[in-house]
């Protein structure tokens, strides 16, 4: 009984718990230790609450679950409509999983303006969860824009040398991308009278939207542009390396782990969900961009002298896989895309933490500054190896499952996409292992590195959960795919119909 009543408010609780914590944090006195502990407690509590979602999730169902639907603003008709399905469920869990780790990894490294840092981090968490849980387009846009400010401030205040440039670039790219989505949302509202995702989807599917045929391509592009900047797809990716290199570690973790997934989630939810026909028409060039992203990202990552930039470009490559899988319109491809999102969130998040740990000790990300670190820092080296292998797609670790599924989906769609995409896996092994070799193997090249301390307590607490998750996800992917599969099936179920309708004309 109590689970029923909890089910109706659980999403609201999970979403706004961090925000409430952040507001409380404002009232706390500036004692850094207390603030850190408080932020950790709040983020852990959110994670524990969030576990309610997968535990009581009805796996067979394709409909949205834990729904709340209340009117928020009467004119225009804006609802507070939240709900999760198999697609958004795990992204929410991923967000709440990574945030406590971000708190832990920032325990020592942030020592100025500690209060502001954790307030921003918690506000960011609420906005991120809100993006994945909202089913009202207005609410979605609301949270989407709300992620911008805390992230830009985290980069701009707590970042490294060129932080201001990076923060402004990040803000402007995303802002300008998303105004096109706003225009598309406004058009949909003007012609359907609703912001509700489900209502709009059904109206479009039944052909009840006036003027839709003429506008559909523009609407698709409006949403696409906002998401493509966020993913980022190939020509829109230039903000990403700057933002990552300059961001503080926790910022990078959330940026790579969750913020980029907002883009791919949006493509899957809105571009495929609302405009299946246009998605199919535009698939060829979107997949081409994704392939360029996979290969270009990997090649650029290979030649980076800066460890953080290398990881950033590897994100461009990995997210290319996600887009490739989404636009293959196959069950395997979409399942794989979802799994890559989660796996990338864990492994790249962990890679950024590991890079941050080195930066804290040596204040540089240059790969040439290191070498032979395996002897002074054995635990660090071992943890790093697990994560690198997971990211490179070694079987039995989480990276493998997703990429394998994506590639098999891409093969089904068109063999050449699969073949070209598969080269991305080779490249990723090259740049990651080569980087690992240069940093950890051989003799210690710089004497300073001899005295580097190994992982501290807090760092272990932050890294090991990621390593454990990488292993569990690689061994038992069915736990995740079981919920993803029906939801994905529901998304592509609309496709044969649209095809037959086009053929029937």
């Amino acid at each position: 009984m109590s689970t029923d009543s909890l089910s109706s408010i659980i999403l609201t609780l999970v979403t706004f718990m961090p925000l409430a914590g952040g507001l409380l944090l404002m009232l706390l006195p500036r004692r850094d230790r207390d603030i850190r502990i408080f932020a950790l407690v709040i983020s852990l509590l959110t994670f524990v609450l969030c576990l309610h979602l997968p535990v009581y999730f009805q796996r067979g169902q394709t409909d949205f679950q834990y729904q709340v639907d209340r009117q928020w603003v009467s004119t225009p008709n804006i609802h507070y409509h939240m709900g999760v399905d198999g697609i958004s469920l795990w992204l929410v869990v991923l967000t709440t999983f990574l945030t406590p780790l971000c708190v832990l990894i920032s325990w020592k490294s942030i020592h100025e303006r500690v209060k502001e840092f954790f307030i921003l981090l918690l506000i960011l968490e609420t906005a991120l969860i809100g993006v994945f849980t909202s089913l009202d387009l207005f609410l979605f846009y609301f949270f989407w824009e709300a992620t911008l400010i805390p992230m830009a401030l985290l980069i701009g205040i707590f970042g490294h040398e060129r932080k201001v440039y990076a923060a402004v670039k990040f803000f402007m790219y995303t802002m300008i991308g998303s105004v096109f989505m706003l225009a598309a949302i406004l058009w949909l509202y003007a012609n359907t009278g609703s912001f509700d995702f489900v209502v709009i989807r059904d109206k479009i599917a039944s052909g009840a939207v006036p003027g839709f045929a003429a506008a559909a391509q523009w609407l698709f592009l409006g949403f696409f542009l906002a998401f493509a900047v966020k993913v980022p797809l190939f020509p829109f990716h230039t903000w990403l390396p700057d933002a990552h290199v300059e961001a503080p570690t926790a910022g990078s973790v959330l940026l790579a782990g969750v913020l980029l997934k907002m883009g791919t989630y949006g493509l899957l939810r809105f571009n495929l969900g609302l405009f299946p026909e246009q998605a199919r028409h535009n698939a060829w060039w979107v997949m081409t961009l994704a392939l360029i992203g996979i290969i270009y990202g990997a090649l650029v990552a290979m030649v980076q002298p800066n460890m953080k930039k290398l990881i950033a470009y590897s994100s461009v490559s990995h997210l290319g896989f996600v887009v490739l899988g989404i636009f293959s319109f196959t069950q395997a491809g979409l399942n794989g895309a979802m799994f890559v999102m989660l796996a990338h969130g864990i492994s790249t998040g962990a890679l950024f933490m590991l890079a941050g740990i080195l930066h804290e000790r040596r204040h540089t990300y240059e790969i040439s500054e290191f070498g032979g670190l395996a002897s002074p820092m054995p635990v660090y080296a071992a943890s790093y190896l697990v994560i690198v292998l997971a990211s490179a797609g070694l079987p039995l670790l989480n990276g493998f499952i997703g990429e394998f599924l994506v590639l098999s989906g891409a093969f089904q769609a068109r063999a050449v996409y699969g073949i070209l995409g598969a080269t991305g896996i080779i490249w990723s092994a090259v740049y990651l292992l080569w980087m690992y070799q240069r940093v950890f193997y051989g003799k210690v090249t710089h004497p300073v590195n001899n005295s580097l301390s190994d992982l501290s307590r807090f760092e272990k607490m932050a890294i090991w959960p990621c390593a454990a998750a990488a292993v569990v996800m690689g061994v038992a992917p069915i736990v995740w795919l079981g919920a993803i599969d029906p939801a994905v099936h529901a998304v592509i179920a609309t496709f044969p119909q649209t095809v037959s309708r086009v053929v029937g004309q």
């Binding site: 824009e145 400010i149 803000f171 802002m175 105004v179 225009a183």
Partner: protein
């Protein structure tokens, strides 16, 4: 009463010549504000300078509060209607703008307290002029007679011309005042010329009458010219491109609290007039005039603001851009556009006044600290003030949870509904570009260390109240926009379906009904 009814029965012609009690109630806020303005003027020479700062400000503040009370009284249903021979109309629309401009006046008076003392400005005329200016603006929103609108426009303009030059020792302020005066009189002349031509074209200066004449028959060419001229005059007042060139110079020189005042209250009033003119006098072709002006204002305003280094100039260009967003609503369909525009003026007033209250506090004696560099490190030296300014700036960008977000949202959604897709795209792109320069200020405050010594004095009580009320309004409009929007929609509905537009209900009937 008996005498009145007697006159009414004996000589119907006279009954219209004598104003009734209800007529006075319908301009009660204006009367109250004028009386308080005069009290301030009379007391000013009687008090010594030390006292006058506090006392006169307090009287002026009480005056605005009394004005709000009078507006509340006027808003009772039995006082809705026409007054003074169809020159003034009290409806939800005019009540909305009354509350808005009087509240703006109150906040400006609150934020001027400290400023006056720091800048060593004699207080008397200053507060009186603010009150008189508010009288003119309030009257603009309820006048439905073009000549009365012109008079109200002049009352408000002349006060602002003088107020702009109040930093007497500064050459920039004198320049600002003179520039504003010369260009402003030029623009009002345009408006007056438009009124004259409209009279020539339709034989009336009553908006409802003009609307009926234009609806009835073929529209004379003269009417197009008249509307264009009136638009020029009002376009100047709201700082819409291409009539915006005065704005940065005038804002730069004028006292900071007055800039906050000038950029919100007269604009709101001029927009109210424009709303009546656009939606009641329905001239085809007006749409394209507004379309072009809106697109130009948004683009020129935002591009101009990108390169500014003086915060007051930056906000001046931003106000041009915001006039452009507002005009987008005008180009949209009547009922949707009018309510969106009303919401926008309210939200814009809250956020812009707040921003200028912060700017005027930081400016210090002689307005020395108004460049972007002076804001470096403010997040550290004065976290609360920086947080307040950040909220106002985020609202100006249009970030969720602030009034500015819903304001933009309603405007663009009205435009999309009216199928103005290109204007919407120009608008949303502009709001993306616009984010950059507001962000620059935030960057300065939080991400840079201060390089030179900028003294930050603690926030005095009055300014704190002003800031808190602006902030409360900004956030309230950002989270619970329904109430204000609903009110705006109802009054816009009244405006568009104005009974006086229907030929059947003549104005005479309503004036007779007020007698009873």
């Amino acid at each position: 009463m008996i005498a009145q009814t007697m006159i009414a029965t004996i000589a119907p012609a006279f009954s219209q010549a004598l104003p009734q009690t209800a007529d006075y109630v319908r301009i009660l806020p204006e009367i109250v504000l004028s009386i308080f303005g005069m009290i301030v003027m009379v007391l000013e020479p009687l008090l010594d300078e030390e006292q006058s700062q506090k006392v006169l400000g307090l009287i002026a503040l009480v005056g605005t509060l009394a004005g709000l009370g009078a507006t509340w009284f006027m808003a009772q249903p039995q006082y809705q209607g026409l007054a003074f021979w169809n020159m003034v109309q009290v409806d939800a629309f005019s009540v909305f703008f009354h509350v808005l401009v009087i509240a703006i006046g109150a906040v400006v008076i609150l934020s001027s307290y400290e400023y006056m003392a720091v800048q060593r400005i004699r207080a008397g005329e200053y507060y009186a002029l603010i009150l008189f200016g508010v009288v003119g603006m309030a009257l603009m929103s309820s006048a439905i007679e073009l000549v009365l609108i012109f008079i109200a426009l002049e009352i408000s303009s002349i006060s602002s011309y003088v107020l702009a030059g109040f930093r007497r020792h500064e050459a920039a302020s004198a320049e600002s005042s003179l520039k504003y005066f010369l260009l402003g009189s030029f623009a009002t002349a345009f408006f007056l010329y438009g009124v004259a031509l409209m009279f020539g074209a339709t034989g009336s200066t009553n908006i409802a009458q003009i609307s009926r004449t234009l609806l009835a028959g073929p529209i004379p060419l003269l009417a197009y010219v008249a509307v264009a001229f009136m638009f020029v005059g009002l376009g100047f007042k709201v700082a819409a491109a291409p009539f915006h060139v005065w704005t940065p110079d005038v804002y730069e020189g004028a006292p900071a609290p007055i800039v906050g005042f000038m950029s919100t209250a007269p604009k709101a009033a001029a927009f109210a007039v424009l709303l009546r003119v656009v939606f009641v006098i329905d001239v085809p072709g007006m749409l394209w005039l507004i379309w072009v002006s809106a697109a130009l204002s948004m683009t020129l305003g935002n591009l101009g603001a990108l390169v500014q280094n003086n915060v007051k100039r930056l906000l001046a260009y931003s106000s041009i851009a915001h006039a452009g967003y507002l005009l987008v609503a005008f180009a949209a369909s009547p009922s949707l556009g009018a309510s969106a525009a009303m919401f926008y003026t309210a939200a814009y007033a809250a956020m812009n006044l707040g921003a200028f209250a912060v700017v005027s506090h930081l400016a210090n004696a002689g307005e020395r600290y108004v460049t972007l560099e002076d804001y470096e490190g403010l997040g550290r030296s004065s976290p609360l003030l920086a947080a307040a300014l950040t909220i106002f700036l985020l609202s100006l960008i249009g970030i969720p949870m602030t009034g500015g977000f819903f304001a933009k949202f309603y405007v663009f959604s009205a435009a999309v509904k009216a199928n103005l897709i290109w204007l919407t795209i120009i608008g949303v792109l502009n709001s993306g570009v616009g984010a950059y320069y507001y962000l620059r200020i935030i960057v300065m405050m939080y991400m840079r260390e201060s390089r030179r010594e900028v003294p930050v004095t603690p926030v005095p009580f009055a300014l704190g109240v002003a800031l808190a009320s602006c902030m409360a309004a900004t956030i309230y409009l950002g989270i619970f926009p329904s109430h204000v929007l609903q009110y705006a929609q109802d009054s816009a509905q009244q405006l568009v379906l104005d009974p006086s537009r229907q030929p059947s209900s003549s104005a005479l009937i309503s004036s007779v009904s007020t007698i009873q």
